[in-house]
């Protein structure tokens, strides 16, 4: 889940919880407030009444009364209770046949050795009537404030997290290692993000320069090796032709030549890979895939014949590829087919078919060879990686790395599936822009 989504979720949920709690507590709170308010009012009325009684004497006021709507209730009478009483309670009173709940203040006092009890009441309904509007006003204000804070939080986290999103979008997603392009600082006043941005940038630079150095090294090393190899090759060839050399020495010269060809082959292959990786080839050719494969078939037929392998090509005649490099694509297919022969069984089969499924174009090369074991599969495109089963083969482990570099150069995706003892399937998925 994205950080922003998480923050938003937390924000909203926490606020909803607070609202719910408050809504649940609201009636109790309001009732308490109301009761306090009522009790205060009763106390004040009592004080006023006592003042009146003290001024005008108790007799005129010793009666019971209630307002016509029975909202308020008043009673002053002689009483026998001697204990001092001063309470406020909620009690029922029967008035004209109705039982009504009242909030009642009870107070007794002595006047001329007579005990009097004063009761003042306010009906509970009146109290409750005041609660409802209070509650709804409080609720509306609360909800309003919550919405406001959610919106404010949202806006601010949006604003404050924007640089992070930009760092992820421009620096991490869709960046093809090691081609990063130039550095552009992400503007932010948040130090953590500045630090993150700079750190990513530094790491990218390190990776980039390491890659660059490796490429340069391979390119320079292979170039530098070419001249000494060339001298050796010429010397051996000249010696081979000279008449005073015996056949026995010639045989040994031939061994030398063989080794030199091996060295030359490795160097040339490394150079080719580095040239591909340094983007030194043009992508301007267009070819008919079928024709290219038949050309390779002709070239490679001696190897097929040698192992009695059947090569079936089923590709539409008019299937063309554009914006490619013919030399490279030729080498890609040559190496794949050559591998399919090398690791095949005597009398085996190789099938090449083109597929067109949901707008993607692919070519599948299936062999009936020895297959690749699952633990080797992730490493088959590594340079100089020789798999255990291929040790007896006369190769140096650069065939598939060439294939990989060429495929990368053309943005062709390679899917490999293999089963030991059954065979391998190399599937090349072509990007749309290469399809003519």
């Amino acid at each position: 889940m994205k950080l922003k989504t998480k923050l938003t979720l937390f924000n909203t949920i926490s606020k909803l919880v607070i609202v719910t709690l408050f809504v649940l507590l609201l009636p109790v709170l309001i009732r308490n407030i109301n009761q306090n308010f009522t009790d205060n009012k009763l106390q004040k009325q009592k004080t006023k009444l006592l003042k009146i009684i003290r001024t005008y004497g108790v007799k005129d006021y010793a009666y019971a009364a209630y307002s016509p709507l029975k909202e308020e209730y008043y009673n002053l009478e002689e009483d026998t209770i001697t204990d001092h009483l001063n309470t406020i309670k909620t009690e029922p009173r029967r008035i004209e046949g109705d039982t009504i709940q009242y909030r009642i203040l009870s107070y007794n006092f002595l006047v001329a050795k007579k005990n009097y009890l004063l009761e003042i009441g306010i009906s509970q309904d009146t109290v409750n009537e005041r609660s409802a509007p209070l509650q709804s006003v409080a609720f509306v204000i609360l909800v309003g404030m919550i919405i406001l804070t959610i919106a404010a939080d949202q806006l601010y986290s949006d604003y404050v997290l924007r640089p992070l999103g930009r760092i992820i979008k421009t620096k991490l997603i869709g960046q093809k290692f090691p081609n990063f392009g130039s550095y552009k600082q992400v503007e932010t006043s948040t130090e953590d993000f500045q630090y993150l941005d700079i750190s990513i940038h530094k790491m990218i630079r390190t990776i980039e320069s390491t890659f660059q150095k490796e490429r340069e090294f391979i390119s320079n090393a292979s170039h530098e090796l070419m001249t000494p190899i060339s001298i050796l090759q010429s010397k051996i060839e000249n010696m081979f032709e000279s008449e005073e050399i015996s056949d026995e020495v010639k045989l040994r010269l031939l061994e030398l030549q063989k080794i030199l060809y091996r060295l030359k082959s490795i160097t040339k292959t490394l150079l080719l890979i580095s040239q591909i990786e340094n983007d030194q080839f043009l992508r301007e050719d267009s070819i008919t895939l079928c024709a290219l494969l038949h050309e390779i078939n002709e070239e490679i037929s001696i190897r097929l014949q040698d192992k009695n392998i059947t090569l079936n090509i089923s590709i539409a005649e008019d299937w063309t590829l554009v914006k490619i490099n013919k030399f490279l694509l030729y080498n890609l297919f040559f190496n794949l087919i050559n591998n399919a022969i090398k690791y095949n069984k005597e009398g085996g089969e190789i099938n090449i078919e083109a597929l067109r499924e949901n707008n993607t174009y692919s070519v599948k090369i299936t062999d009936t060879g020895i297959g690749i074991s699952p633990e080797d599969l992730p490493y088959i495109f590594n340079r100089f990686k020789k798999l255990r089963q291929s040790l007896q083969q006369e190769s140096f482990g650069l065939g598939l790395p060439i294939v990989h570099s060429i495929a990368d150069f053309h943005h062709i995706k390679i899917d490999v599936k293999s089963e030991k003892g059954v065979g391998s399937v190399f599937k090349l998925v072509f990007p749309k822009e290469l399809i003519g």
């Binding site: 170039h223 530098e224 070419m226 001249t227 190899i229 060339s230 001298i231 050796l232 090759q233 010429s234 010397k235 060839e237 000249n238 081979f240 032709e241 056949d247 010639k250 045989l251 031939l254 030549q257 063989k258 060809y261 091996r262 030359k264 082959s265 490795i266 040339k268 292959t269 150079l271 080719l272 040239q275 030194q280 080839f281 043009l282 002709e298 070239e299 037929s301 001696i302 190897r303 014949q305 040698d306 030399f327 030729y330 080498n331 040559f334 190496n335 050559n338 090398k342 006369e394 190769s395 140096f396 482990g397 650069l398 065939g399 060439i402």
Partner: protein, 227 residues
């Protein structure tokens, strides 16, 4: 024919000289661009072999300069920096061919022969091999008046290469480099030359003997033509 070899690697220049002298060329050597520039100004050559990576001169500049005084020479660029752009520029500037180091001396010789044939329009392109006639222009091998069918491109290339280096043993590696040169793959010993030769013999033996195509035990193959 006169050849100017411009190559700063002295050891390589010497080998080129030995080899070409063997093939009856008259050689002149320069180890740097300055002396080469002097030589092309006063002498006329049939072939000028230029190494592009000279320490004191841009090889392409030298090519341009040499073309002024030696417009009819054949130019072959030799270089260790097999940059694709160099190749295109070199050929655009009028070089006749381009060889990336390391190359086989036999390959150089065959390119020079091809240029000679092209430049001087050599008619003598039909060679007699026993009872067969090989036409290098039409790329056919005939018995009697009829071309033999079913000879593949690779098979013809092999025969033609052996004819070019007639009466010399050509090793499997040299043959292999010639016919597989454009492919980069990771085999170093499976050159399939024997299989090709076997096929050629099988196809031709149906008509007449092929004892002009000799196997030199352990070393390679040779086409024998009595001059």
């Amino acid at each position: 024919m006169n050849v100017l070899i411009i190559e700063d690697e002295k050891a390589l220049a010497r080998e080129l000289e030995i080899f070409l002298t063997n093939y009856n060329y008259i050689c002149d050597i320069c180890f740097d661009g300055t002396s080469a520039s002097e030589k092309v100004a006063v002498n006329l050559y049939d072939f000028i072999l230029i190494d592009l990576g000279l320490p004191d001169y841009d090889g392409l500049d030298l090519l341009k300069e040499a073309k002024k005084n030696n417009p009819d020479s054949a130019y072959i660029i030799l270089t260790a920096r097999a940059e694709i752009n160099d190749r295109i520029t070199g050929l655009d500037m009028g070089a006749d061919d381009y060889l990336a180091k390391p190359f086989s001396l036999l390959e150089l010789q065959s390119r020079m022969q091809a240029i000679t044939r092209r430049k001087y329009g050599l008619k003598n392109n039909v060679i007699q091999l026993g009872d067969f006639l090989v036409n290098l222009t039409e790329r056919t091998i005939s018995f009697g008046s009829e071309p033999i069918p079913g000879i593949t491109k690779k098979e013809f290339d092999l025969v033609a290469y052996l004819i070019l280096h007639k009466n010399r043993t050509v090793t499997r590696n040299q043959l292999s480099e010639h016919i597989w040169g454009s492919v980069v793959n990771d085999d170093y010993d499976s050159n399939y030359i024997d299989a090709h030769i076997k096929n050629i013999r099988k196809k031709l033996n149906a008509y007449a003997t092929t004892d002009w195509l000799e196997t030199v035990r352990g070393l390679g193959y040779k086409v024998k033509i009595n001059a």
